[in-house]
């Protein structure tokens, strides 16, 4: 599996690096990755699926065996790249790689006019496919999170690929802000449940579910991540915006795969956590809102692609309602819906792309039906929309029947009845916007104001429509013979919840309540379509008061602007440009934080004087320090500081450390020279412009620093006595000659025992040198600009 991920990475990077050299052939190269994945899946099909129909003594079925693969990553943190491939991952892989392959073929037809940056789409798409496979294969929660974020990033790059289009840029930014923000919440939630469950492995979490007080909050965080990713209300505003991306990208990312990542995560976790905290209630409320709002907005769209985008939102809400309850029977309907939606929505998106490509518009007012040769497109549009609307005998019908049926039978939790109503209403809306889509394609909505172009549009090439045809055939075939995917969905369910007893997927399950509801949906849906003009008027009138409420787009813009304003304000306060303030903050922090624990350790004073020579030296040090603080002339202050340094060197010498004294002496000499070098750029005297209140503060800080260093020195020398080993210097002295081949212990420590430290230090020296040079050059160029001529010496 890791090899397949690497293949995606390799092909994706290769295409990106080759630039536009390959043109649209890049998509043919990109197709290799999903093809390889599909072949790999086919080889393992029977192992993974197993034989879910055979029940054991307790009436439990058992699916196939999952394939595991582990690559060590950060062993110390127990972070492994664990991949798990079970039947549910297989369902998702079919969507990712199956539709991925078809989209690659489709893109070859779509991108017939080469524009710069198009091949980049192929590379990014391959990278995205790899990340998405990472999401559905990851068993370790952190690995899942990383793949999750990678899909957000590749999605951002794909939406904003046309970087000269400001709409594309802002849509991309909005998408990554929302999904990225959800991603952060997700990380927090995953870490909490990983810690409370004692394992980060999804496969182990089924046996040891997370427990504890924080889990409830963690689940809210995880749902936040899933909802933002799957464009649930109120976070869905980025999905319609993302439709500025080329249609193959929208087909792949924003209908078939990426937006299902949230559904995938909810499906994975629901059997484990559905009964904890507010998980189920949140899923039901948010899913219901999304399903209804998405449906209502889809009915108002004039752009076929946006219609489908809102439809996708609605359907994603539907999926959330199915997979998020924790009732496995209902979840199985969700799995069927995942497959059905992948098939029909990808078909419809592809067809919109075909129309857009051939006619140059996808606006229903500008479409007036199509001429000869368009029959396959029209037929596929009808079949796809029918599946979306849930008409028999298509796969969409099978999914919706099973959904309503299982909800009626097994929905014994709070809110189940209301959810059934929501599903029915949502399905009616789905029927209505599906019909609107079909009527739009047939040109019924076409207005006379617009030039009749679509009738004369050339019919698409066969390769261009072939991918949609494959999906249409699957929609019909699997709808008529759902037994083909029955084993697949049953095993997938067992993979989600090993204690479940899945049922077979059937087209016709008898004349039951679900079927009556389906009939009702069709009838009311047809009525809504027939009376679409009055309905539209009612909808507009009803939406009028809602216009007062802030829109999600508007709130998003408001939040971004507010963050900007707050950031500017905070920067103005914190980074006010005053060097003294910065120093004050830095020094106080550096002094206060370590000193507070040290004061507790401050127990005894050392012997003050060890030898008489120390007294004059220390007197010089103290005198010069006070002098340095009081003197106004800079050069004099530096000389005073130099005196302190040389006296320190003398002190070292007196204590018997010639090496240290030598170094101190050399540094002091050099330091003074360099100081003078910089001094020439400064006024000769210290000039104090600060208000009078500042002086006591500065004085206090200076005294504090002095006191802190004093405490620090005494405590750290005393601390040695607590250590069992009397002094490590004894050991160093003993080892210097035999191990370091040197008699100068200090140098042996520097170049051998602590050689790596020295290496780090000289690297710092190098960085400091480069920094100083850059700083000096930069600031002096700035200085040079105002060439003020000074003709007069200032006279006091």
């Amino acid at each position: 599996m890791i090899v397949l991920l690497l293949i995606h990475l390799l092909i994706g990077s290769a295409i990106l690096l080759s630039g536009d050299r390959w043109g649209r052939r890049a998509f043919a190269v990109a197709a290799v990755a999903p093809l390889a994945t599909l072949l790999w899946v086919a080889a393992r099909w029977s192992t993974i699926i197993g034989d879910p129909g055979v029940l054991d003594d307790e009436g439990h079925g058992s699916g196939g065996d999952a394939v595991f693969e582990t690559v060590g990553w950060i062993g110390g943190l127990d972070l492994d790249l664990t991949l798990r491939f079970d039947a549910f991952s297989l369902v998702m892989t079919l969507l990712v790689s199956g539709i991925g392959l078809l989209v690659c073929i489709y893109a070859i037809g779509y991108f017939s006019h080469i524009l710069p940056g198009q091949s980049r789409l192929a590379g990014l798409m391959t990278l995205f496919a790899g990340s998405m496979l990472g999401v559905v294969w990851a068993d370790h929660l952190i690995a899942l999170f990383i793949a999750w974020e990678l899909t957000s990033i590749t999605s951002y790059l794909l939406i904003g690929n046309d970087d000269r289009n400001p709409r594309a840029r802002s849509a991309a930014l909005q998408a990554i802000f929302i999904t990225g923000g959800g991603g952060l919440a997700l990380l927090l939630g995953l870490i909490i449940i990983g810690q409370s469950a004692g394992t980060y492995r999804l496969s182990e979490m089924v046996d040891s579910p997370p427990s504890g007080g924080a889990v409830g909050a963690a689940l809210v965080c995880i749902l936040l991540g899933a909802f933002t990713k799957s464009a649930q209300a109120p976070f869905g505003s980025w999905l319609p915006g993302a439709m500025v991306a080329p249609t193959p990208i929208s087909t792949y990312l924003h209908s078939a795969t990426m937006v299902k990542a949230g559904v995938y995560l909810v499906a994975r976790l629901s059997p484990i956590v559905a009964t904890i905290g507010d998980w189920r209630a949140l899923v039901l409320v948010v899913g219901s809102f999304t399903m209804i709002i998405g449906g209502l907005r889809a009915m108002r769209q004039r752009d076929l692609k946006l219609l489908l985008a809102y439809g996708t939102m609605s359907q994603l809400g539907f999926m959330m309602l199915l997979v998020g309850t924790g009732e496995y029977k209902i979840a199985q309907a969700g799995i069927v819906l995942l497959l059905a939606h992948g098939a029909f929505k990808a078909t419809l998106f592809m067809l919109v792309g075909v129309i857009d490509h051939q006619v140059g518009t996808r606006h229903i007012r500008e479409l007036h039906g199509f001429g000869d040769g368009w029959l396959p497109v029209k037929a596929m549009a009808v079949i796809g929309a029918a599946s979306m609307a849930g008409l028999p005998p298509l796969l969409g019908f099978v999914a919706k029947e099973k959904a309503i049926d299982t909800y009626l039978e097994y929905g014994d939790f709070t809110g189940a009845d209301a959810t059934i109503v929501v599903i029915v209403v949502g399905s009616i809306l789905t029927f209505a916007y599906s019909a609107r889509f079909v009527l739009g394609v047939f040109g019924v909505h076409g207005s006379t104001d617009n030039e009749v172009r679509s009738r004369a549009a050339p019919a698409p090439a066969w390769l261009f429509v072939a991918p949609a045809a494959v999906l249409t055939v699957l929609t019909v075939l699997l709808g008529v013979f759902p037994a083909i995917i029955s084993d697949l969905t049953e095993s997938a369910l067992l993979a989600l919840d090993p204690s479940s007893t899945p049922s077979t997927v059937k087209l016709w399950s008898g004349f039951n309540t679900a079927f009556v509801l389906s009939l009702m949906i069709i009838v009311i849906g047809t009525l809504l379509t027939v009376f679409r003009r009055p309905v539209a008027r009612v909808q507009t009138a009803a939406a009028q008061p809602l216009r007062r409420l802030p829109t999600t787009d508007g709130s998003f813009g408001f939040i971004i602007r507010a963050i900007d304003a707050v950031a500017r304000h905070v920067t103005r306060v914190v980074q006010n440009g005053s060097l003294p303030t910065y120093l004050l903050v830095i020094i106080s922090t550096a002094v206060l934080i370590p000193v507070i624990p040290m004061i507790a350790e401050f127990d005894r004073l050392p012997q003050w004087v060890e030898s008489p020579i120390q007294i004059p030296i220390v007197a010089i040090i103290i005198g010069s320090s006070i002098g340095a603080a009081l003197i106004h002339r800079r050069i004099a202050a530096i000389v005073m500081l130099g005196a302190v340094g040389f006296a320190m060197a003398a002190l070292y010498e007196a204590q018997g450390a010639p090496d240290l004294a030598l170094t101190q002496f050399a540094i002091e000499t050099l330091g003074t020279v360099l100081f003078v070098l910089v001094l020439r750029f400064l006024p000769t005297r210290f000039v104090d412009l600060a208000p009078a209140v500042v002086r006591p503060i500065r004085l206090a800080v200076s005294v504090m620093v002095g006191a802190a260093i004093f405490v620090f020195a005494i405590v750290s020398t005393n601390a040695r006595s607590d250590v069992a080993e009397e002094s490590i210097s004894t050991e160093m002295v003993e080892r210097a000659k035999p191990d370091g081949e040197g008699k100068n212990v200090v140098n042996v420590i520097l170049v051998d025992f602590r050689g790596v430290d020295t290496m780090g230090e000289i690297t710092v020296l190098l960085v400091a040198a480069v920094g100083a040079a850059a700083l000096a050059r930069g600031s002096r160029q700035y200085d040079r600009e105002p060439e003020v001529e000074r003709t007069e010496e200032p006279v006091a």
């Binding site: 050399a666 000499t669 360099l674 020439r680 104090d688 370091g740 051998d752 040079r784 200032p794 006091a796």
Partner: protein, 180 residues
């Protein structure tokens, strides 16, 4: 720039001597006071003498290589010495010893710490050269531009007056405005 004859002549004598001394520090450092760091600092002191007498041009003449070349070269030598044992399968910075017996000098012993120290030596010199290059590279007109914002003191007492009696720069600036 005015040059002082006495300074010039003494630096001519001192410069090579200090450089030799710094090399002595560098090579003897393993067994006696010294080492790459101290050696580098001593050499830097010599360089600063050159700077004091002849300015940045004099410093540039004494080192043909650019400061950043010396810096990078020094770091490369040190890191190379540190990593080399790893390539041979040893630990990082594992040291080796080389004993030579040239005819006149008797026994010469060199440990692998020496190239490491040479690297440190070069980095220190490079750093100082870099700082001279950064802050010491000035043209005369630039020096002219830098003026004392305070009026020159007219007596010792004024020179060392307490901080409170010191007139702030704003006052001085006002005075200047009045005068012009």
């Amino acid at each position: 720039m005015r040059r002082s004859l006495i300074l010039d002549v003494s630096v001519r004598l001192l410069y090579p001597s200090i450089i030799v001394l710094s090399l002595y520090f560098l090579f003897s450092g393993h067994n006696q006071p010294g080492g790459g760091f101290v050696g580098g600092l001593a050499a830097s002191a010599a360089i600063s003498l050159r700077y004091v007498t002849g300015g940045i041009e004099s410093v540039r003449r004494s080192f043909r290589l650019q400061p950043w070349t010396i810096l990078g070269f020094g770091l490369a030598i040190s890191v190379g010495t540190a990593i080399f044992p790893m390539l041979l399968g040893g630990a990082i910075l594992e040291h080796g010893t080389l004993k030579l017996h040239p005819p006149v000098l008797g026994e010469i012993k060199a440990t692998s710490a020496l190239p490491f120290d040479i690297g440190v030596y070069l980095v220190v010199i490079g750093l100082v050269l870099m700082i001279f290059e950064a802050f010491g590279d000035d043209h005369d007109h630039e020096i002219d531009m830098i003026e004392s914002p305070t009026a020159p003191a007219r007596s010792i007492r004024e020179e060392y007056r307490p901080l409170s009696q010191h007139s702030p720069a704003s006052a001085w600036l006002r005075a200047e405005d009045d005068s012009t």
